[in-house]
Amino acid sequence: MKQVLAFIFTLIVGGLMILSLNNNALFTEYGENNPEDTYSDSYIDRDVRDNNDDVIYGESEGLESAPANIVTAIVADYRSFDTLGEITVLFISSLGVALLLGGKKKERMALNYSPNFMLRIGSRALFGIILMTGVFMAVHGHLTPGGGFPGGTMIASSLLLLYLANDEFRTKVQGFKLLESFAGIAYVAIGLAGLYISGYFLENFLPTGTIGELFSAGIIPIIYVLIGLKVGSEITGIIDNFLTEEAL
């Protein structure tokens, strides 16, 4: 009886959704609404250089902020300081895991069943694809959706695959700690360089180039690569901490 009621309820809710999507009662059609009703003009036409022409992919030059998608412009340029705080949150959580689970002499935890042969060999072939996809996403953060956070997570998942596929595998944790510290310090150093050159912390001080090209958008690709390295090494550290145990 309960299931029948749940089914009917689901049908009604689904029907309502389809109806509301169909007759545009809730949302105005794209392009039809007038943003000036809701926001102030100065937010819509906001460009500190008073240059409010249309942005054309592959042609516009010398923009205020030149990544090809707006999320990147906000995450890595306008609110870059916020992002610095976010990766600090991730750093603190990985530090907490290391404090709880880390010991002096640690050994790789043995899984209950030794891994399949095909998984062991196939993971080595797939590792290259996954790692390269992660690096690609981090490097192309200013051109495609994605960027440092998913890219770093893909790097960490490639290492998780090796952990699952090989009972003896352990990373050189020391190297990852160094990489993580280097990425964090470099992020702050870039911010200080912006402070020194332009007067604001994390201000974009490199030429922004043509929108849509690989070498463009100033410091945004550099910052995204650093974020990718930091996120990747932190999550790998967390995985390593969970999959090792103290030696007996």
Binding site: Y113, G122, L126, I129
Partner: protein
Amino acid sequence: MEIVSTVFMIIGGLFYLLGGLGILRMPDTFDRIQAGTKATTLGAFSLLIGITFAHPDWWLKILLIIIFIVLANPIGSSVLAKAAYLSFEKPSNLVTDELEDVFGGDTND
């Protein structure tokens, strides 16, 4: 070109449908693994080839997806088959089972 692409896409959709049907109708777990893997691999193959005919300049990325699926899909089902063999009841109508003695004492501890 348009027609070739359309035909490949419809074939791909049919094989995806076959994969879903196989998952639904096969009688035991190993049969389901077999049907799902084979049908979805060929379905993805032919759908992606159809898309390549429609957009010839995407072929590099689509080639990467095909390589990934052809490598990863059988590996995933093999791992799953071993897990299913070790964990659950075997099908009742087995003719031979030559793996009993091999995986009997395969623990690591």
